[in-house]
Symmetry: C2
Subunit: 248 residues, 2 copies
Amino acid sequence: MSTIQSVERAFQILQAVAQFPNEAQLGDVAEATSLPKSTVSRMLTTLGEIGAIQQAHPGAGYKIGRIISDLITQPSWLVNLAEPWLKKLVEQTGETATLSVMDGDRLLYVAQHSDPNNNIQLRDWTGIHFPNLHTSSPSKLFLAYDPILQKNYLARPLQTFTENTISDPTELAIHLKKVKTQGYAWVREEFERGLAGVSAPIFDQNEKIVAAVSLYGPIFRIPPAGNDAEFTALVVTAASEITSHLRG
Amino acid sequence: MSTIQSVERAFQILQAVAQFPNEAQLGDVAEATSLPKSTVSRMLTTLGEIGAIQQAHPGAGYKIGRIISDLITQPSWLVNLAEPWLKKLVEQTGETATLSVMDGDRLLYVAQHSDPNNNIQLRDWTGIHFPNLHTSSPSKLFLAYDPILQKNYLARPLQTFTENTISDPTELAIHLKKVKTQGYAWVREEFERGLAGVSAPIFDQNEKIVAAVSLYGPIFRIPPAGNDAEFTALVVTAASEITSHLRG
DNA sequence: TGACATCGTTCCGTATCGTGGAATATCTTC
DNA sequence: GAAGATATTCCACGATACGGAACGATGTCA
């Protein structure tokens, strides 16, 4: 099948604009793409109206517009549903809020929000599949509430990452029983030094865990064990409200 | 001026694809955009060849392609030139390497690289204009080497951010003299708790400072004062090599 | 196995759209 | 005010994109 020349040209122009260090002039783009200035002008006008290209003010140079970055943020209904609660947790604590689900036998992070003004940030886990279920708080919840998953997981060797990692299967089973009883899970430097957080489960109408809400941060900002009740309650409440919303 | 329908349609299709939680089917996109399937098919083929849309395999659903995210990374000649050294610093230390320049009377971060495997990350400063020159290590260098900038800056009140901020103009002038003598600048929690790093200057052929290379991280991972010579030397060496390259 | 439904691809006549050179408008510099 | 540079607009034209129809591939069901 043939392709569409105008669309190919539009992306040539976008890539040319993206290559300029600051802002591109129309003549620069025409030169870079070997297209007539009238063609480039019409393309830039179209891309400008779409929002794929922007100018600080009329007459200013051109640069890549916000629409391009918006295309990479791919929401889903659960991500959309949970977003207000994740943002509220960030507002309340300044720490990083995430949403995760199980995808096969690995945890999948599907959304992450954080305070953009914090210099110390967690890396963005969105889209990442995490196999080491015993070392992260959301996946501990899935292990706690899903006996089949837990049985299969404990049958495998548990890798040790830090001195805090719970690698003994018996010890982990006891720990997961406690997680289920209390209805939330903590990790403190069990996967990596400096990283701590708490998670709470989101259930569907069949009382089945479908997702987990988490609040993470660098350990020096996270309340220590024994003094974390308020912080924990925020996450448990958020997850509980999302569950209620999910049930209708 | 008129706009280009095909380009508008292409972005309609991209936005439709972006809205699907997992992968979009051709029929889904046709429905979402109210376009005939043959039109959508031709568009998806074109966007696929460009790389703006991708399929895991033929017959699989469609999702946003890598080209879109590439458009947001905007290099410049200095950014391109410095990139190998910034990446090397990240490899050597695991910390965050940045490149910054002065833009008017504010510091501008133009590039940042970090180890993607670190959970504790610095937020991305790229594109940010930073006015508080006395609290960041690259801008201390500009203050140290540019007497006019220093004179004008010291004439203004210096804001205090932490107990480590040097807010007294006399004390700052003495500190900047030392920075110029030693040829690098450190900050340790002078702007925000937990944040520390070192910077070294890049000079042009006229011995004028044009940019600064920095290596930042959370303070618990950064070598303490008195034990930072090796860490400092890595940055000074990188900046010196870039200067040599710049000079030809 | 055959019928049927659904999805995606390809074809092709048509006319709409995108083209690009030229003219014009705007802005900056001297 | 003139000259130069940059960007915008116009418009005749034909090349391109269009979309319905036909077709091929795949999956489901009796």
